[in-house]
């Protein structure tokens, strides 16, 4: 993206004033280098978002933004239902509530190294991953509806975790307002045997070690120590979420056509929050959020059971679970007034800071953990939400590295076997059913996650707490 059209507010905050149909400005939170690498499409898409009815304050762009579907990935926008605000299926995306959860293990790198190969094989065997994989659970119609209403709470009630887990998940593990009635039979059919599956693409399960602590005080409260082992899971709402997104995008596009609404981009089709389609989408989308939360909870249980045999000393505690493709109803202060807004975060992580009443007691004084995933060869980061982010970006931060190279370019440049061998030399073990999949996900095909995290930190969107490096990575 060219810098000449941006008004520099600070080294990490850049403004695009409203022109044409834009109702609000665009604020880009990033540094010069990352902005120059951003596609011009990010700007075009942010301009379209800024023109949507009922948008409040600004369209915010995160440091890892790239070209998405309708919304830029790394886009945050809040809408007021009382000012004609809208909800957009494209603004949430295909993988509704895709997110990351990180588990503390109580183990150190010394515990892992002697059994690392066995651990990699064991996890690859126990965690259903990749195209065509099935979970162990087979849900009937009523169980499906219960799961879609209850989320991780449903999973815990079924024995897949503890009540302590639930306090360490956004919204205590359950999105309120989910309505399975608005989820099609096709979407439910796709999910029947997919609870407790990882998926594919950029999704993963990773065993990591903490290599650096940036903020000792917050790290202590989060339970993070240098040299300790964590396990992170990155996945979403599986086939159910994809089906809901596909169906509602079509409904929103065809409704717009019937009503003569001109769309800047079909992918940005929307419905007023206060409309039948808007309400139906919100009910279905929240059900998909619960599906993703249940999925990550069941996967957690699989990891706990797998480790119990090999590493009986392991005590897997959930640090936190964040979702980075959502639309959530939240209270925010705008111009001194409290407003109930619908905040879209597309490829952006909620990063609520200290003092937020909805956070669990232990995080209320320091902010929620913000979990940022890297690639299979690079670091992941744990950050903490800041008070500043509440006024800067509706309490949001970046979500990951973001691709810098297409999949076809990546497969031309690397062979999966070589990637596996090179990473093994660095002490990182990869397990995946597909070498081509590994080539497509090669670390070099992504942007530098450390630069993205640095920008999020310096822009005050969230504060760096710890750096994690991969030891074992299970890819779908």
């Amino acid at each position: 993206m060219e810098l000449k059209n941006l008004k520099k507010q600070s080294d990490y905050q850049w403004l695009i004033e409203p022109t044409g149909k834009m109702r609000v400005p665009i604020i880009i939170y990033s540094d010069e280098t990352l902005i120059k690498e951003m596609d011009e499409k990010v700007r075009e898409q942010a301009v379209n978002v800024a023109a949507l009815p009922g948008i409040i304050k600004a369209c915010c762009v995160m440091p890892d933004a790239h070209w998405g579907y309708g919304f830029p990935i790394g886009g945050v926008a809040a809408f007021d239902p009382n000012e004609g605000g809208v909800v957009s299926a494209g603004g949430v995306g295909f993988d509704i509530s895709c997110g990351v959860r990180t588990l503390l293990t109580g183990l150190t790198i010394e515990n892992i190294e002697p059994v690392k190969n066995k651990l990699a094989d064991l996890l690859a065997h126990k965690i259903p991953a990749g195209v065509g994989s099935r979970g162990k659970l087979l849900l009937n119609q009523s169980e499906m509806d219960e799961m879609l209403v209850g989320g991780a709470r449903w999973a815990v009630e079924r024995g897949y975790g503890t009540s302590e887990d639930l306090t360490h998940i956004e919204e205590q593990g359950c999105a309120v307002g989910a309505n399975p009635q608005y989820v099609s039979n096709e979407a439910k059919k796709r999910q029947r045997d997919e609870v407790g599956t990882l998926g594919s693409g950029n999704h993963y399960l990773e065993v990591q070690h903490i290599t650096e602590i940036f903020d000792g005080k917050i790290a202590q409260t989060y339970g993070l120590q240098k040299g300790q082992i964590t396990i992170s899971i990155h996945c979403g709402s599986r086939g159910l979420g994809h089906q809901i997104a596909t169906e509602f995008m079509k409904t929103m596009v065809t409704t717009a056509k019937e009503k003569g609404i001109e769309l800047a981009d079909r992918e940005l089709a929307f419905a007023p929050i206060k409309s039948p389609v808007g309400e139906q989408y919100l009910g279905a989308m929240r059900a998909a959020i619960n599906c993703a939360l249940a999925n990550r909870q069941v996967l957690t249980d699989l990891v706990r059971k797998a480790l119990a045999g090999l590493l009986p000393k392991a005590e897997l505690k959930l640090l936190y679970d964040v979702s980075h493709n959502t639309c959530k109803e939240e209270i925010h202060t705008v111009n001194g007034k409290q407003k109930r807004l619908f905040v879209h975060r597309k490829g952006a992580t909620r990063a609520f800071g200290p003092g937020e009443p909805t956070l669990a007691d232990e995080f209320r004084d320091i902010g929620q953990p913000v979990l940022i995933g890297g690639t299979m060869g690079t670091a992941s980061y744990i950050l903490a939400g800041t008070a500043e982010s509440m006024s800067l970006s509706f309490g949001s931060s970046c979500h990951g590295a973001g691709r810098s190279m297409s999949r076809s370019q990546a497969t031309k440049r690397w062979h999966g076997k070589d990637v596996v061998m090179n990473l093994a030399q660095k002490g990182i073990l990869i397990r995946s059913p597909s070498f081509r999949g590994i080539a497509e996900e090669a670390p070099g095909a992504y942007k530098d996650v450390s630069a993205v995290v640095e920008a999020a930190h310096n822009a005050n969107l969230s504060r760096k707490v710890a750096k994690l490096m991969p030891l074992v990575c299970i890819k779908g």
């Binding site: 998405g68 579907y69 195209v131 079509k250 079909r266 992918e267 059913p433 597909s434 070498f435």
Partner: protein, 140 residues
């Protein structure tokens, strides 16, 4: 000379699929091959079992999306991959048959699940030579 073929085109985060053919139907069939090729080597998928797909949409472009998303739904719920297609178009309705087989991880080494066919770069058109082109970006 009108070509019948499929190809991929690059997209920063995902991948574009394109089908070309002398008729719109063939372009749709080739686009379906391009979709399978995102997931696996199409030459390894045997046409053992037949699945019928029907969809309706107000225009050609939405019909292409419905066709591709319909295939993704069948792949996901049947745990199958498809390698041979026969498409019939009648105004706003598509009737198609897809042949394929159950996913075999060892044999097919599936690379990636496709989450959905998208409106990005979505187009159904004829070029100057009369060749039909059916294309879009898919989210993986």
């Amino acid at each position: 000379m009108k070509k019948t073929k499929w190809e991929h085109f690059p997209h920063q985060a995902d991948i574009g699929i394109r089908g070309l053919g002398p008729t719109k139907e063939q372009a749709f069939e080739q686009a379906a091959l391009a979709l399978t090729a995102v997931i696996t080597n199409i030459n390894k998928v045997e046409p053992e079992k037949k699945v019928e797909i029907t969809c309706q949409a107000p225009d050609d472009e939405l019909l292409l999306l419905d066709w591709l998303n319909g295939l993704l739904y069948e792949m996901d719920t049947r745990k199958m991959l498809f390698s041979s297609f026969e498409v019939q178009l009648d105004k706003n309705t598509l009737n198609a048959v897809a042949w394929g087989q159950k996913i075999d991880i060892q044999k097919h080494q599936p690379t990636v699940e496709v989450k959905g066919a998208t409106y990005t770069e979505l187009s159904v058109r004829q070029d100057e030579s009369g060749t039909w082109i059916a294309q879009c970006v898919v989210d993986v």
